[in-house]
Each structure stands twice: as C-alpha cells, then as structure tokens.
C-alpha cells in the first residue's frame, strides 16, 4: 500500500497533469473515501489551478436522510433493542439528537465492524431485539445482504435491518441533469465498482458526454484517475475507463450482485440535502421484507422534513465548497455540527475543517 503513496511518483503524475492541461476543468470525485484521501494528502494542492476537484455526495453517512436517522433514534431508544451500527453514524445529528446521545441516556447502542457481528449478537441474546443500521453504498450492501440471508437461513427471528443503502449511478445522473451542473468528468468510486462493475456508466458517459474513470483511493490512484480524466477532456472524449483495474472488473463481483438481487430491490430514496431520487436506494425484497426494522417497529410512517439552514445539500452536489458556507467554522463545527457533512469524518465539511482551516 505504501507504494501507492510514494512522493516521487505522486509528483511525477502531478507534473504530467500540469503538462497536459490547457483549459480549466471541473472533476467530481463521488466517493467520501476519495475526498478524505484528497484532503488528507493534499492532492488537490498538487494539481494545476485550472483543475477544480468537486466533492460529490459520496458519503453514505452524510446523505442518510434526517428522517431515517430519527427512525434509528426511535428504535435505539427502546429498552428491548440492541442497536448496532458502524461507528460513522453515531454522531450524525437527526432532528434533535444523535445515537451517541441515546447511548449516553442508557440506550444499548453498539459499534460493530461487520453486519455479521450483529447477527451473532442476535444469536447470543435471544431475549433482545438486535437491529442493524444498514448504511452504505453498493460496497457495503453485499455485507448487509449476507447478514440478512444468513439470519433467514438460520431462522433467527430477533434480528432486523434498518435499511439505508443508496446507489451511486442515480446520484451521478441527478447531479448531471441539474441545470447548475458544473461537473465535466467523474472519478467513479473504486470500491462501489468492485462490487457492481462499471457497465452502468457507459450510458451515462454517452448521454451527458462526460468521461468517467473508475478510480482507487491511494494518492497515486487518484492522481492517475485525474490524469486520465484530463487526457480525455483535452481530447473531447467521453468514455468509461478503469484506473483501479487491480480490484475492479467490468462485470463486477457476480456472487455479490447475485445476492444483492435476491435480498434487495431498488426503491426510491431520500438523500439528505438533495431530496428524493427515484430508484436510488435499496429495500428488502420478498421473504426478506420480514427483516425490515421499519415495519417491525412501526416507524415506517414517520415523516421528517429537512431544515433549511444547513447548506450541506449544496456541498454534496458540488455547488459550493465547505468554506463558502456562512456557517462553516463558526456556527457549524465538528463539535456542534449543523449537518452530516460536518459530523462524518468523510464529510467534505469535516475534512476541510480538520485539514484546511
């Protein structure tokens, strides 16, 4: 992994980008992990001024709707529930509070590394209701699918899933179809594509005439991905290319896709700060619907509207940079965040705050 962080190689790639860039270009990286790497390693500072990197809605934590977080909080507060989640979600504020605060008040909220750990907890605690908060893009969905699949196979009844999975291609389309869209090329999320492949991107690249380069997460990956985008842009090409070929195959991971199709179905999903995007989320399908926590705990009908103060929506869409928000660093900081982009360590606002102020 260290080879992909080599300083000399990084500077070589950066110099090549400088060499081939003749016009200003705006490139969006979709994945929060890529945002994190860019800001942490200062990759955007190596790029020529004409290249603007726009941080997209690639943080599934940031885009989880307030409504869904409120549902999570409601469920987690119940005495019979053991609420399991990835660490990222614990500090994300809903309308009034967050999971960490619910834990402070006595709720049994636990961090797990894998959804399978939650299933194990259900097996070990038959008197409790174990709920897993299924957040994440297509990268994480196969893990959640397997957890539900195994729970069903073993007949485990005290396990359920609060589904919050979202899909990347519809988000990219939503951004591209917006009249204020400034994005001219995309770095597609390398791990999402490890699961899904990249066939879905061909029609998007063609329809909107944008280069899409499937990119990894190390500095050299990102720099090479940017270089490949710029090379295409300079030649007015709009193709799908794969920079992260050591992990991504065009057809993706077939066993994972197969299980996703068995356990989940595509549903509309509300994205925090963006609104509802049709066919952009995953919901439990067929017999697996019995594992849906929203139904089990009767919170499916809860409706919460997004407040207007937080501008994370504009940040997520790449319309503004974090420091352009009037609340940035003043009323909105990691200690008292207004929105998810400041809470999540992946969020563009948090990344800027920690590395850039």
């Amino acid at each position: 992994m260290d080879e992909y962080r080599d300083a000399d190689a990084a500077h070589k790639l950066a110099r090549e980008i400088v060499r081939v860039t003749t016009k200003p270009w705006a490139i969006m990286e979709v994945c929060g992990g890529q945002t994190h790497a860019i800001v942490k390693f200062g990759i955007d500072e190596l790029l020529p001024k004409q290249i603007t990197l726009i941080h997209g809605p690639g943080c599934p934590v940031c885009v989880t709707s307030i409504e869904l977080i409120d549902k999570a909080l409601e469920i987690a507060s119940r005495p019979e529930v053991v609420f399991c989640s990835f660490g990222d979600m614990l500090r994300v504020p809903g309308s009034t509070t967050d999971l960490l605060s619910v834990k402070a008040l006595g709720g049994d909220v636990r961090i797990v590394y894998s959804p399978l750990d939650a299933v194990k907890l259900a097996e070990q605690n038959p008197g409790k209701e174990v709920v897993f908060f299924g957040v994440g893009f297509e990268t994480t969905a196969p893990a959640t699918a397997m957890a539900v699949y195994q729970a069903a196979k073993k007949g485990i009844r005290n396990f359920s899933l609060l589904v919050s999975h979202v899909l990347v291609p519809p988000a990219i389309e939503a951004i591209l179809s917006s009249p204020q869209c400034r994005v001219q090329a995309f770095l597609a999320a390398g791990h999402v594509c490890t699961v899904m492949g990249y066939e879905e991107y061909f029609p998007i690249a063609a329809k909107y005439h944008v280069p899409i380069v499937v990119t990894g997460f190390e500095p050299l990956d990102i720099l090479q991905g940017v270089l490949m985008c710029v090379q295409q842009l300079e030649k007015n090409r709009a193709e799908v290319e794969n920079q992260y070929s050591r992990s991504v195959r065009q057809e993706g991971n077939l066993p994972a896709i197969h299980l996703l199709r068995e356990v989940f179905q595509v549903v509309p999903r509300k994205w925090r700060g963006i609104g509802e995007i049709p066919s952009s989320g995953l919901g439990l399908a067929g017999p697996y619907a019995a594992y849906d926590a929203e139904q089990k705990f009767g919170v499916a009908g809860l409706r919460v509207d997004e407040p207007s103060e937080c501008l994370s929506g504009l940040v997520l869409q790449g319309q503004i940079k974090p420091h352009e928000c009037p609340a940035f660093g003043t009323r909105c900081t990691p200690e008292h965040p207004l929105g998810a982009t400041m809470v999540s360590s992946e969020g563009a606002c948090a990344a800027y705050y920690r590395y850039r102020r």
């Binding site: 962080r5 080599d6 500077h11 200062g42 990222d88 402070a104 636990r110 990691p334 360590s345 590395y355």
Partner: protein, 356 residues
C-alpha cells in the same frame, strides 16, 4: 446570498459555564482527550477551582514546600477490558501517574491508590491487578503508601475503576512547561506510537482481530531523569495518552502560543499498528499510548538527547519528529508523506471506527 446570523436563545443557568443547551449531559466524548474534554476541563474545573497552579494545566503541578519543590498529580483509570496484551488496569494506573510526575521532571516517590470496585468482581481478578500494580511500582521505584476502597452496586462500575495520585521530588531547576518553548526547539518522541490504543482495540468486543500488538504501557521516569542528569535543556514534556500525539501537540501549541511543525515521514508507527488503524479507519496519530512522551528540547541538545533515549530499555525507536516554529499561533502543521502540508487539528471527541 444574504447571510442573516441566527441568534441562539440564551437559556442556560448563569452558574453553569457550559451552555446546557449544547451539552445538557456529559457524553463519552467529554472523556476522550479531545476538544470536548478540554472544554469541560477548562470551563468547568479549572475556572471553578481557579488558582495559578491548576491554570498551568500541565500533566502534574509543581509546588514549593519547606524550601523544596514537589510535583503532584492524579489520574483515574477506567480502561475496558481490564486485561489487555501488554498490561492491565493496575500496571497502567501505576505507570500513568508515575509518567505524569515525570513530565515535570520529577523523581516519583509515592503513590496513593483508590479502588472503586463493582460488586461481583472476582477476587482472583482483583488479586491479579493488585499484584500487577506492585510489580509496576517496584519497577518504577515507587511505593504505594495510602489508599481507599469502595464497592458499588453491580452494573455501575465496569468491573473496576482505579485512581492513583502521585508525589515526586523536583530536583532540577528547569521550568518544564509549554510556556518555556522556544522557536527552533526540536520535538522528540521516545518511540513508535499507537500501540496501547490498538492493543485495546484488538480485544474490544465487536472489533476483535488477532495481533501481536502489545500496549506500550511503561514508566518513563528513568529516561526523563537521565536527560536531566545529562544537563539536556528540556523546555517541555508531555506524555501521549488519550487523544494521542495530535492532542498533546495541540495542547502544547495552544498553551505556548507557538505553531508546531512535524513530518509524517519522521513519525514512527509500527506496520501492524498502522494496519490495524487502516482496517478500522482510525488515525494512528490520535491513538493513545501509555509509555510514550514528546520532549521539546533546545536544538543543540538533540543528538545527545536522542542518544540517551535510545540507550533506555525500549527506547530504540526514539527520534526527532519536528520543531517549534516562530509563528505565534495555536496550530500544528503536518508535512504529509507526499510533501504537502496540512493542519493536524485537535481531535473533537472519541475517535470511532468507520467504514466510509
């Protein structure tokens, strides 16, 4: 776009320094070593207890009595699990307090030990921990001369909490404080970082992995006293506990009002510690250590200081990681592995494993 500032209603009780509307209850993050904890300490404890000694906010406080100088400190240990690779809550309780005394350049003399035991804790467990404390005390050259015992209801104690207070003799005439920092001072650490925190993570429920990472919990009084005996001009010392290197550097920078600069290439982190951090999405610079400290020394003494540190048991990894700049600012800047600079900000709360 018109910016209309939104006024927050002031509805907090005037006596409470931390606006209740912000944090009506204490959160775990308030103990995490980051911003929230510092806010709690500053606004609640230091401002209420209010005296020049507590306001130095250093690891231990140095006072004068009968013509001699002493250092005094206290620390409570709430680690879970009680036993971890490389140590246990008992040895940690001794090392931690000994080290806080060492951070004032004091020779540790005596410790107290207060136990808050949860009803139901196996006697055998308590015995193992107490034996471990005695071993650690002997190794550090201190005696535990007074203590206290309390037993609380089952469910209220996480098994066991230990508080140790310590007193040490200050036999040098240096003022080892952030305020003594000078531009150009070198920043040294006495070994690789993050072992303690990751050793704990390795056995913590839900995040288990197999590793040979052992806590670096160890007493550091000897290395410090050796540096003092050799006449090394030490301006400040800070042990790297909760919040790791990042927290310590930010605290010092703020107290000294001098910007610090460190280089990623120079900061030692073992490969397996780094790998464990990568898997869980943690920043190794924020992970707790228990036998590591940062020393701010006059630049002309760097080579001698490093030679002394490296000659200590377990000190082979001692190295220089950066320097104190002449910029009057509370800021820590890191030069990344690929040569770009970024801010190393004070962690805001407890670092949580992430997937994203």
């Amino acid at each position: 776009m018109l910016f209309v500032p939104i006024m927050q209603p002031l509805d907090f009780t005037p006596a409470c320094p931390i606006p209740i509307q912000q944090y009506p209850r204490v959160l775990l993050a308030h103990g995490g070593g980051g911003k929230l904890m510092h806010q709690l300490i500053g606004k609640m404890f230091v401002s209420v207890f209010h005296n020049p000694l507590i306001e130095t906010q250093h690891d231990s406080s140095v006072f004068e009595a009968g013509g001699a100088r002493f250092a005094f400190t206290t620390d409570s240990y709430v680690v879970h699990p009680l036993f971890f690779p490389g140590g246990d809550i008992g040895s940690m309780a001794v090392h931690g307090t000994v080290n806080d005394l060492a951070m004032s350049g004091a020779r540790p003399l005596y410790l107290s030990a207060g136990f808050i035991i949860e009803e139901g804790l196996p006697m055998e467990t308590l015995w193992k921990i107490v034996s471990s404390m005695q071993q650690a005390a002997a190794r550090a050259g201190v005696q535990i001369i007074t203590g206290d015992t309390k037993v609380v209801d089952k469910g209220k104690g996480d098994g066991l909490f230990i508080n140790t207070a310590g007193i040490g003799a200050v036999e040098h005439s240096l003022k080892i404080l952030p305020q003594s920092l000078r531009p150009g001072d070198a920043i040294l650490v006495n070994g690789d970082l993050g072992r303690h925190g990751m050793a704990i993570m390795a056995v913590r429920e839900g995040l288990e992995f197999e590793s040979t990472i052992e806590s670096d919990s160890a007493p550091v009084a000897e290395p410090v006293l050796e540096l003092l005996r050799a006449g090394i001009e030490i301006h400040c010392l800070r042990d790297l506990t909760r919040g790791g290197l990042t927290s310590a550097l930010n605290e010092i920078s703020e107290a000294a009002n001098l910007a610090l600069r460190v280089e990623e290439k120079l900061i030692p982190v073992r490969e397996d510690v780094r790998a464990a951090c990568e898997i869980l999405g943690l920043d190794p610079y924020q992970v707790a250590c228990e036998g590591r400290f940062a020393a701010f020394v006059a630049v002309r003494d760097v080579d001698r200081a490093l030679a002394i540190l490296r000659a200590q048991t377990g000190g082979a990894g001692a190295c220089r990681i950066g320097e104190v700049t002449d910029q009057r600012a509370a800021k820590v800047v890191l030069k990344s592995a690929i040569g770009v600079q970024r801010i190393l900000d004070m962690p805001s709360g407890e670092q949580l494993p992430r997937i994203c």
